[in-house]
Amino acid sequence: MATTLKDLRPVYVAGIGFHRYQFLSDTPYVTLGLAAVRAALDDAGVAWPAVDSAYVAKALLPMAPGRAMLRHLGDHGLPIVHVENASASGSAAFRHACMEVAAGLADIALVVGVDKPMPVGRAESLARIGSLADDAIAPFTHFALLADAYAARTGASVEDIALVAVKNHRNGSKNPFAQHQKERTLDEILGGKKIAGGFTSLQCTPVGEGAAAVIIASEEGLRRRGVGLDRAVRVASSAGRSQHLYDDATRYDAMLTQETTQIALAQAQLAPGELDVVELHDAFTVEEVEYVEAMGLCPDGQAVPMLKEGAFDIGGRCAVSPSGGLISMGHPIGPTGVGQIGEITRQLRGEAGPRQHPGARSGLAHMVGVGAVCYVHVLQKP
């Protein structure tokens, strides 16, 4: 049996920082990234020279944006690695930074995700395997098909599934770093621009620009620099998987989510019902109902009734996407997975202000990325 993160020395999130997720602007990516990194360093109480290793997550920016940004923090020479893993780029960067610190190869590491919308191709299209209609099936259409299948399987209506967007826009309205910061009624959401199937624009993530950063550290790394563990949050487990060949090939994201979450929860020795906050890949409303079931937060087919009861609200049984999630906070791609870690850290510290989930002690961050790949991290208050 291979060693897991839990078997190595403890790793903590010691600092978090953001640049607001926003629609594409003239702001250079360097400005976005530096804002997040400086905020994370300040939050951790750690100076730049104390950082041993840097991970830069991006999926859309061109090759090697890292040092061109980080050099403005002062002369350093630390190792910098860039991580591209589609939507899960930030989550993958976080996992590998945690492994480096846990293994003792670094005491303090920076993970920063930064991106700006730019046209990029998908390598799979270069495999020269034809398709009947891939050009007609954008991501929102793929998920609209899953929503139709979910509705047929569970009896949920278009209105039921859209309730995810009502909750997540409400959460995002309380998040100063969210791209959408406006509460929306169900009628507003359903009356918006039609996209595909039952989806309207407010049920789909906006892909914009932004940055998120976290500082992770070992206990000795922090103590040596005079920083205590008072506000640190433990990384209890890390799991990364890619998809299998499933009987229902269209539901790969949910199947992969189930497997990866089970591994992460087992490592952390937690049951799904013990999670207080969850940030998941809700790029489209149907994903949230599919994934809360796949994760075991509720029985199969029960996501909508529980959503209606308020079980996934802030203050409910388990706050799902308290940041606003991808639907409201946004999905700038490279930063997204790092931003989830930032939000859960804020929640477990009890510093989330108007969107604080009371008594949060355990949180889970989940991202899927095309390919498909999946990452799940569990964080706990020490």
């Binding site: 495999a127 395997i129 034809g130 398709s131 009947l132 209609a133 891939d134 050009d135 007609a136 099936i137 954008a138 929102f140 259409t141 793929h142 609209a144 098909l145 899953l146 929503a147 139709d148 299948a149 047929a152 621009k193 039609k194 996209i195 595909a196 199937g197 060949l245 229902d248 090939a249 269209t250």
Partner: protein, 136 residues
């Protein structure tokens, strides 16, 4: 020799399969391990990794798993609205395809059959492309 009238002759043909000669067949493959897939490829089997992959004509019929009317489409050469669907073929693989006659609501579980529909290729020539429609 591929059929010059077909838009994507590597993916389907006019002739049907042994099981159902009527609807156009889809050009899939089968591995020595038993895995049946669409479309045909020669890189390696997604189940066992083997490279003994043989062409297999798949019956152009199956059951609808889901459909969605697409109202917004950025790509050139295709005007929204149109309908796409997920269909489990009688031979096993699940495909995603355009649906003919998708203006009316389709219900998961409906029997679907392949048809060749007239289209215009990017060069402006008349071609036939594969669609699925509800079986009469």
């Amino acid at each position: 020799m591929s059929d010059p009238d077909l838009l994507k002759p590597t993916l389907y043909r006019r002739a049907g399969s042994a099981a159902r000669p009527e609807p156009p067949a889809l050009l899939g493959g089968a591995c020595a391990c038993g895995h049946v897939f669409f479309p045909l490829q020669s890189y390696g089997c997604e189940r066992c990794g083997g490279t003994d992959l043989q062409p297999r004509a798949l019956t152009g019929a199956g059951r609808l798993l889901a459909s969605a009317r697409v109202h917004l489409h950025a790509g050139k050469g295709r005007e929204a609205p149109f309908t796409v669907g997920s269909i489990r073929l009688e031979d096993g693989p699940i495909i995603r395809t355009l649906i003919e006659g998708g203006e009316t609501r389709l219900h998961p579980g409906a029997a679907m059959v392949a048809v060749l529909a007239p289209v215009t290729d990017p060069q402006g020539s008349a071609r036939l492309d594969l669609r699925f429609m509800a079986e009469a």
